[in-house]
Symmetry: C2
């Protein structure tokens, strides 16, 4: 058996030759930090020498119940000896001691569990050497007390506050304010004090290595120090915190962490020393400029802690004592970008004029920066277009597409709810849709505040700047519609106790009561509700976004590069259709017709539903037909030459009716007031008819194609309106492309029946108008039964559109309307679920979608398969949909750019052999 | 290519030798009628000779657009000539004509499309021969007019009323009342009249065969008559009526019908002639006796029409003129039973003393008859036990298990609803559960009449004799609970307009208003509601049922004969548990705990839900724990030694709360009345808390395991009560076998979480009581996600129980509470669905169950798989469950016998290589 290498060296030897064993690709072996240290050393950058103990060693060690695998301790010993030889110094040497840092470094960044011990190698003897070498007694004692403090807390688990308290006590005794005011003598005292704390709080039985003659004392032997530190880092892989973090971030427990043992360099050795962090470009806007901060005569943590005012990185090369290192750093930046082909984030230290690189990794950036950097780098020849497209995080794009609260504003946050639709809005509080319309007409921006919204609120939602509800979740009516409109929305603010009749809302836990006309601001990106007006920032849609999306489309729409996934939009009116076209949608994947029945037309649909008279019903239907024809003329015209999938009427009919509960209360009042008996009788009759439509579970009731089967006249009316509009536009020489979608099908026979009606009507209109009307007919797949019997249903469908909202609802048995406020928050907090399945499509639901696709294609090889649920605009979901093999996604207009980008990235990953290529 | 035979002969030749080509097994070729005629002829019974044209000919003929396949006409001609030779007579012979009947006969009985033409071969010449041969002019002319009438309507499609009108006109003219009063001369006139009708109403262009010299006239050529009749029968296979019938009865369109051409025999040739129908045993009670009716000097249709009083079959052998034939018939009965090993239904005719058999088939029978006949035949050695078990239709058993309305009673049917729970009940109308309890206490039987019921009605439902609702379907609360209790229930009587406040119900379409105390009868077996009291018949549970069930169990529970499927019961209290044990249940597959929270305990659960005070919540929980422990002691004791699966709390919590809408109205009244503000404020506060629990779709809301996750204290309480009860009974030396079932799981993590809590509690109780408690823990699979991810969920489950009610609900997106009244009736009437999926499990749902089984077994090979939905007691569903491979079904106690029988039959069929053997 070949021996496995457990320890990898990096940096130079005594002769100045690079002896690095690893490279950046080896991050599964060396961890992210170790691999990049090796890479930097390899490409000639000044990296303090050291060695990395591999991640696999960690797994072996902890797998063997914290016993070292055979030979590994020897390997570490050898690496230490080698490092001492390379440096010409020894750990613990009383004359010129070598000091090292011990740091963890897993393959993926795991902030918060990165244990670090600095200045290892110091003891009561070697401190003398450090004083002698640096001629800086204060620095030396400070280094020693830091080491004891870190070692005690990180390696031995001693409560860190004990040390901080000792420092505070010392400062009080000395009457000084800052740590820096303590003298070398003070620090020396603290070292003594710290060693006492160590002896008092470390359990000798648990740590026999620190027991001498039955007494616990701070270990003086550098070997003991080193091995204990390494073991502590390995042990930290399996602490509760780390396990939880990995579970949350879906990081495998089998990866392990590496340990980096590296020679210490000091940025606090006087004015020719410094330390800093930097990005190779501006991470806020992507501009190609050096970006970062440094401090002269300081240690790394000082920069991050923000105790002292840092200097901008461009000043480094003009700062006396570090000028040369500063110039060298700029070359390093260029070299790193050229080498990594990306914007890098680095840490460096200058020790007495010499530059040392301590860390590099790919830099995090804003959406704007990601766009600009990607485009610039492509132009600079650093990366190709494909890479540029991959560099932008689609989820971040949302930032660019909506107004935001001024980040500098001081916020009086009144309450927090669900971030249901991104963007911010400011306006006066109104409690009804009518008031919202009134305010808007008077030119007063307003925020519509409701317990929850229903289709009748649409005009108010359109009139308002934003929507705020006390009930309902991220897929409630308010949230779905707001996202569709691109309007900011905060939902489910439970602390808001609304009394709409009184036009006021109490905020629990505060003494605030909001009244009509009060100014508030809402932030749909974070879910915050703020008292008063906050300045809004309307980000520009920069040309960079357009460029990246064009590049994305070049890849996405090129069949030679792999399967093409189209992007369509969900839009219910010509304005939204135009908007989605502007955002690059290739068609309309979902045009809901129920919103067309509101406003003036609500009376007509009400009379259709409630009348028991056949001729009245007929008249209502005819009136609707006329109005609908107009709707479709507008839609098809706006999308001339592109597909428009019109979904036949879907919601439960009683959504169009008045609230029986309110009517009930009204009648009670009228009765007590002794109102006219005839009036009461009429109201009672209305109530009876409405009650006859009430369902215990409307989501599972008379809706979708069931409506069109129970009331075939509605199906006929809609089909006729669509066909008529198409015929009229064709006569005008346009190219309308409607498709008809039948919702909520669970049975082959349902689809066959409704399709029969629709085809009959189309044939009639063709005959009447003397024109051929080619209108594909398909169905939503939004019930589990439809998915598992798609091989039957597919026989009658030209296309399937997966309605993932409803499919999620029935697959889980979670109500979209209720569930989020009822138990989804508990589920998230108890980690029963990782993400809300109404936001990112669930894997169980994906199984059904996959079955649906396979079934549909087996029945009809030409079938088009798409998705038009909310998930169509969610990046994680889009990647899954590409993997399943859908032909298109359809999402709200504002998410079309996100979908275009994500679909392109999914394709790029698929080309690279990502797991999603293999369906 | 071998020539296909299109025509098969049956009966004897001129020498008295049997020349039959077919047999009873050939019913797919000869049709049921033809195959059994052949079989009878083969075993030596006197069958009038004839021939059968095969079903395949029909398919070829109609497939070729009603053109005869080559050679077939010649084959028919030859068979006709052969028949003439065998009989020594010719069709149309003026001296002694042969007359034949032409009848259809498909492989499956299709009543209503069985076209028949009798007396074919008569014409203006051959009538003379018939007169001469029979010496009965009246008989001859009557035969001729019947032939013209049948031929015209069946073959030519002439409206039958035209002929009936002519007869009526004749009778009026002659001043007589009955057809039999018409003389030979009158009938001769009618023949002339009928021929005129023929000429006037047959379209010559459509039927060129009946046109001579440009004139339409009744065809005189027997060949033309025969071919037209045969073509008409074949054509009838594809008439609308027949196509619809086949669709409804799942009969393939590819089977075709055969045509039987058979020599006419006449039961109306004087007193030595007769005709009759009979069963080899009594089809009402199964007693081994000859059973049937005959008429002397009559034709077959006269017996069925009931115009003349028939005589019982046992008189036949004592009736002068037909004694010998009567004795011979009894021998035929014995021979048929011995040959067919079953009770047969026959038709016969005696022509001038000679017996002729015209038809035989397996006889339909009542449940009681089926049981008795099966047991007797086994004892007689006619059949084995397996066959006996297969002979009883499980669906029929229901008849034996519930009281019935006296079938002789004259019923004043007031309205009809859904037959939601079988059996009949009589009582006084009450409109509330409290009134039901009051009436019951006063010893007055009552019927609870409600819009719909909810868990709070349970005490009223128990107190009442039966339940009647105006809303809700067969799986509504009322229906499910009533079936569980074995109480008769009629649901969804839409014409009932209930005003519970006024204690009255108007019945639309009538002038009846039911008031409290009015006597009504309901029939849950048919859905009828009857005004007044109807006598009830309480059928005995005869020993026959027990015998058959014992035989069924011998087969069902024998592992050597194939996979064993157990039968358990759904029971929530010790009485039902005992009942189900008496009915042969092997355990309790579902003990719902929500019913245990009603009555006095409702207050406690209400206070648990509504209080915002932690100590009150705790106290409520402790109180529930004590009460629940008592519940479980009772259940486990009643089922000592057998499994009891206890399902943790399942329904939405707000089911335990008051109706917010009623409270709303109450507050409105109080406000108008100027009631105490404090009282109103308290009511408002209560309303607010109740409203905070209201969900738009409670079926998809906070229920099942979600409750146990949001309120872990409820889970702990229930687990502790179960474990404590088990420990106490073990201490008493009993053998309690509880299992804990976690409902409404959709995620592996949910089950793992709740299981963790339950296991923790069990371990605590084990420690406290010092006893080992082995309690299997499983889950309901009742959501599509659970079914498709059963491979994950199964890791944490000792058993799965498929909750097919909820699974059907979410797989289809049909609400159990609403859907049936809303659109299931429309779906059934429009043939969108064939059966209500809440009654017989749907194939799409079965796909998910199958996935669930496969997933569960892959995760845990020892997993037990069962079903506890309503479908567990439905025979068609039980057969599917056996096919899928479930380990047990669980159903309401009253359906346990049905399940035992069906499971045995499914196993027998599987052994025989039925399609369900192959999973």
């Amino acid at each position: 058996m070949a021996e496995t290498k457990h320890v990898y060296r990096f940096g130079k030897d005594a002769q100045g030759n690079d002896v690095t064993d690893g490279e950046s690709k080896m991050n599964y072996i060396l961890g992210g930090k170790g691999a990049n240290l090796a890479e930097m050393a390899k490409i000639g950058l000044p990296v303090p020498p050291g060695f990395t103990i591999t991640c696999q060693t960690c797994i072996e060690y902890s797998g063997a119940d914290n016993v070292w695998p055979e030979g590994v301790v020897d390997e570490i010993e050898a690496a230490r000896a080698d490092l001492e030889e390379r440096m010409g110094k020894k750990l613990g040497d009383p004359s010129d001691p070598l000091l090292v840092s011990v740091r963890s470094g897993a393959p993926f960044s795991m902030p918060g569990m990165m244990d670090t011990v600095l200045n290892l190698g110091l003891n009561d003897e070697s401190i003398k050497g450090l004083i002698a070498q640096t001629d800086n007694e204060r620095f030396a004692w400070d280094s020693y007390r830091r080491f004891i403090q870190m070692f005690s807390s990180v390696v031995m688990g001693v409560e860190g506050d004990l040390f901080e308290n000792a420092i505070t006590t010392k400062k009080l005794a000395k009457g000084v304010k800052n740590d820096t005011d303590l003298t070398a003598e003070d620090l020396k005292d603290l070292v003594t004090e710290f060693k006492k704390i160590f002896s008092a709080h470390v359990d000798g039985a648990e740590h026999p290595q620190v027991v001498t003659d039955g007494k616990v004392s701070f270990p003086q032997d550098p070997d003991t120090q080193l091995m204990l530190a390494i073991e502590a880092v390995f042990g930290s892989w399996n602490n509760e915190r780390a396990i939880l973090y990995r579970k949350q971030n879906k990081i495998s427990d089998d990866l392990g962490t590496a340990v980096n043992v590296q020679v210490m360099v000091f940025g606090n050795k006087g004015d020719s020393s410094a330390t800093g962090v930097a990005f190779t470009r501006n991470p806020a806007n992507g501009v190609k400029e050096f970006y970062g901060d440094f401090l002269v005569n300081a240690q790394g943590e000082d920069v991050v802690a923000g105790i002292r005012n840092t200097q901008p990185i461009e000043d480094l090369k003009r700062t006396p004592g570090v000028e040369e290192a500063g110039k060298q750093l700029e070359d390093v930046f260029l070299l790193l970008e050229k080498h990594y082909h990306d914007m890098m984030d680095i840490e460096f230290t200058i020790e007495q004029g010499k530059l040392w690189m301590l860390q590099t990794r790919v830099g995090k950036r804003t959406a704007a920066a990601a766009l600009k950097a990607a485009i610039d780098m492509e132009k600079e020849g650093l990366i190709d277009k494909e890479t540029a497209v991959s560099r932008v995080n689609p989820a971040q794009l949302d930032q660019l597409l909506h107004p935001q609260l001024d980040p500098k504003a001081k916020l009086d946050v009144l309450a927090t709810g669900l971030n249901a639709s991104p963007g911010a809005a400011v306006g006066q509080v109104v409690f009804s849709s009518n008031d919202a319309v009134k305010f808007a007409e008077e030119g007063k921006p307003c925020i519509l505040v409701r317990w929850e919204t229903n289709p009748d609120d649409l005009k108010g939602m359109v009139a308002a700047e934003g929507i705020l509800t006390s009930h309902g979740g991220k897929t409630s009516h308010a949230a779905v519609i707001a996202r569709g409109m691109g309007a900011p929305c905060v939902c489910g603010v439970e602390s808001l106790k609304i009394d709409a009749a009184k036009k006021e809302a109490r905020v629990s836990g505060t003494d605030v009561t909001l009244r009509e006309g009060d100014l508030i601001s809402i932030d749909g990106t974070t879910g915050r509700v703020i008292l008063g007006e906050v300045e809004l920032i309307r980000p520009e849609l920069t040309g960079d976004l357009e460029t990246i999306l064009e590049w994305a489309d070049e890849i996405r729409l090129d069949p030679e590069q792999g399967r093409v996934m189209g992007v369509r939009a969900n839009a219910d009116n010509p304005e939204d259709a135009q908007l989605s076209r502007d955002f690059g949608a290739e068609g309309i994947g979902l045009c809901r017709t129920e919103h067309m029945f509101l406003g003036d037309r609500k009376q007509i649909i009400q009379s259709f539903i409630l009348t028991e008279d056949a001729s009245e019903k007929k008249k209502a239907c005819d009136d609707l037909m006329k109005a609908q024809t107009g709707d479709f003329l507008g839609m098809f015209k706006a999308m001339d030459g592109r597909n428009v999938i019109v979904r036949l009427l879907d919601p439960p009919l009683h959504e169009f009716l008045d609230d029986p509960r309110a009517l009930d209360v009204e009648i009670a009042h009228l009765e007590e007031q002794g109102a006219d008996k005839k009036v009461i009788a009429e109201k009672r009759d209305l109530l009876r008819r409405i009650d006859s439509m009430v369902e215990a579970n409307p989501m599972l009731g008379l809706r979708g194609c069931r409506l069109g089967i129970v009331y075939p006249e509605l199906t006929e009316m809609q089909a006729r309106a669509i066909a008529t509009a198409m015929a009229e536009l064709k006569a005008q020489g346009l190219d309308p492309k409607p498709e008809i979608m039948i919702p909520l099908v669970s049975l082959e026979s349902e689809l066959a029946y409704v399709r029969g009606i629709v085809e009959g009507v189309i044939a009639e209109v063709e005959k009447e108008k003397g024109v051929k009307l080619d209108i594909p007919i398909g169905t939503m797949i939004e019930l589990p039964r439809a998915a598992v019997t798609a091989d039957q249903i597919g026989k009658h469908a030209n296309f399937f559109s997966f309605g993932t909202n409803d499919l999620t609802q029935t697959t889980f048995g979670f109500s979209r309307d209720d569930v989020e406020s009822a138990f989804i928050p508990t589920y998230l907090s108890k980690k029963i679920i990782k993400t809300n399945p109404f936001e990112t499509v669930d894997d169980g639901v994906c199984k059904l979608i996959k079955m649906g696709c396979e079934g549909g294609r087996s029945a009809n090889p030409d079938i088009k398969l798409g998705v038009c649920g909310e998930h169509g605009g969610d990046p994680d979901s889009i990647v899954k949909f590409y993997g399943i093999g859908l032909d298109y996604v359809s999402c709200s207009p504002y998410r079309v750019p996100i979908a275009r980008l994500t679909a392109a990235q999914a394709k790029i990953n698929a080309k690279k052999g990502d797991k999603f290529t293999d369906k």
